[in-house]
Symmetry: none
Subunit: 227 residues, 4 copies
Amino acid sequence: MNRSSTPALPRFVPLTPRGQRTREKLLRAAQTLFGDKGYEHASIADITREAEVALGTFYVYFPDKQSIFVEVVDELGARLRRLLAEAVARCEDRLAVEREGLRTFFQFASRERHLYRIVRQAEFVDEACYRRYYERFARGYVSGLKRAMDAGEVRRMDPEVLAYCLMGMGDFLGMRWVLWEGDSGLEHVLDTAMALLRHGLETRAAGMPAPDKKRARKPRASRSKTS
Amino acid sequence: MNRSSTPALPRFVPLTPRGQRTREKLLRAAQTLFGDKGYEHASIADITREAEVALGTFYVYFPDKQSIFVEVVDELGARLRRLLAEAVARCEDRLAVEREGLRTFFQFASRERHLYRIVRQAEFVDEACYRRYYERFARGYVSGLKRAMDAGEVRRMDPEVLAYCLMGMGDFLGMRWVLWEGDSGLEHVLDTAMALLRHGLETRAAGMPAPDKKRARKPRASRSKTS
Amino acid sequence: MNRSSTPALPRFVPLTPRGQRTREKLLRAAQTLFGDKGYEHASIADITREAEVALGTFYVYFPDKQSIFVEVVDELGARLRRLLAEAVARCEDRLAVEREGLRTFFQFASRERHLYRIVRQAEFVDEACYRRYYERFARGYVSGLKRAMDAGEVRRMDPEVLAYCLMGMGDFLGMRWVLWEGDSGLEHVLDTAMALLRHGLETRAAGMPAPDKKRARKPRASRSKTS
Amino acid sequence: MNRSSTPALPRFVPLTPRGQRTREKLLRAAQTLFGDKGYEHASIADITREAEVALGTFYVYFPDKQSIFVEVVDELGARLRRLLAEAVARCEDRLAVEREGLRTFFQFASRERHLYRIVRQAEFVDEACYRRYYERFARGYVSGLKRAMDAGEVRRMDPEVLAYCLMGMGDFLGMRWVLWEGDSGLEHVLDTAMALLRHGLETRAAGMPAPDKKRARKPRASRSKTS
DNA sequence: CATGAATGAGATTTCATTCAT
DNA sequence: AATGAATGAAATCTCATTCAT
């Protein structure tokens, strides 16, 4: 269905400063337009118009449309990973890492609403680029989790499965409360997600026996904090 | 970027059984091709060729390409929800529900690899249809979770946030181990996911006191670099 | 560019009364739709929908789209000619004939706004039908004018040229003040047209010498009645 | 039924002389083909073939088929108005203006047989463009007639009604004797039209008393039944 | 007579890409 | 490096007409 790209190496020999600037303008414009209109509906003409260069100039810097898309996705992923790395560095324990990571991701997604749209399209434009995006994330995530397991902060389980669980959670929460809802109630979302991560689904608090289901139902409803 | 659809009423009602059959053939073909080549790369001509009808026949049953896509997505969602409902009905407790739900989803995604490709594209083809897909899922999920909370099987937290967490987990696990990996090691994946859901991330086993966080963590805090 | 039709003979053998009624419904619907949307944009499906019969029924009564169009035009022309004949019969002198003829035409055009649109399109649908429409008009007109000339009511000149002059006047006045303007000030339009027909353009009243151009310019402006 | 255009500003300004030339070729080809086959039957492919450019080139210069049509009509009108203005400038009195105007129109229509076909179609392609065509003509006509009235050369009457009368005459005479008949006997047609314009329909010669209407007509009125 | 599903040619329009300047 | 005119393949959609029932 689509050609696959080699991991984003710089595609051209070094450029003059002027060329560098033009290339940047094109990447900026492409990011905007792929985000706004989608890959298929954003034409090269749109991109060059937005970048304020002539149509033909595009092909001086990129061999084809797919290439600039891949570069946009790779760059976006790198930027987000850098932000997350910074956030993680500020955290004391693993749960804080998870919370700050989610928060950073939400902020990024909110500032750059293109993110979701662009990355998801990659699946149909260049599958390799799409997988690369998530695999790189997972790689970082896995090594963080392993360290936390070694430190006894996180229960031992397959860190890769865990990483995909956590990425999926973040992705869907962001979709629902950042993209669709427009950032409303994000702290509450974070609280809930952290509660899940801290204790799992089950009711029995650490060290306490599970309540008898049949009898316990109603009484507990009083302190409910469901939305 | 895209028009939004009203909740999929069949637009053109074929009057004869022959017409019904043709319509079905088109829907089958569309599902296959949208899954294989993606919405943008599957042309009406491809679909009618696959369905073994003439090009013009398409427009007897659907006003445009978007409409058949929406119908395919809605139908796919309905089928999956039905399967899940059946799976849930077989389960005793909530954790079993989660596990069976995931397993059912993985099986479905494995049999109909189109699922991912098709649903994800909806975001760019018809946003309303895309949100509808997840919101319907969420609705069912939320009511199931509420019941479980009332029954004391699940800790009280915002069930909608929880639903999106769980859907995201399932989505990413399916993407990674069904779509990319081809169903290998699914039981292990389920085990890991269930471990997370059962206890959360933390190390203290159920019924055991949590390690004293303050003491265990501090050493690391010294090189924190809060910004 | 287009096929030419033979003068509208009934195209099919006599029909049952029920068939006659269906045929009429189709003709009515076609007239409406050709008038509203134009020949090219009115589809057979539109016509049968408007006539409340099935698509295939059309081809029971007409061999193709062009045929029904020609029949509509021929019928429209016949109706207008009949109306004009009645109007003429009520008139005493030739100028009254012209005035009543114009008035009748305007009324008809106003009631059936389709007229203009339909007939004019004929030029591109079936040229023979188009010429036939005007030639039949002209034929009647010419014989009327000849009689008037024989009676000494109208100056002798080529009656056919005259007929086209008068038809052209009527056509354009109707276009401007019925179609575009919506029937406003029609009596004034008739007055002006009749003044032209009565005296021609020139200023000198019958039996009076023409005014000296150079000197006479300003004084006369006082009794102007221009709109 | 049709969209309406704003008064034809060129929409796409070609920047290079080469582009200018291509644009001209397309306009020429469009004029030819709209005239020959009609708007609906002349396809963009026909036009680009005639202009000897590739299909896609059309859309470099015109956003759609309607636009080039409007431009063709506007241009045709402008050319005819220019010719008429030149003809009028050569004339001494108003009747000469009318005669020369008609002659010029006939010559133009004869050289560019497209004229009729093209302008008349405008009614169904772009109504605004169609009205604009005649209204611009009428504007010039009206101001000429007003001057002539002020000069005492033409009897005072509503100049706009008069203008449409005269345009209608010209239009139908041209249709009949240029388009259908192929320029035969045009001087005779002009003579007849001028006789009408000079004296009107009535028999009384200039400077002679009109015949007593009442007495001369009655006898004949009884059997009049012109169709 | 009446139906309406099926057809496929053909029309408009888009757009990634090339290339001469 | 930069330009923008030119290209033509391909896509969507329309619709007059046919035909089996």
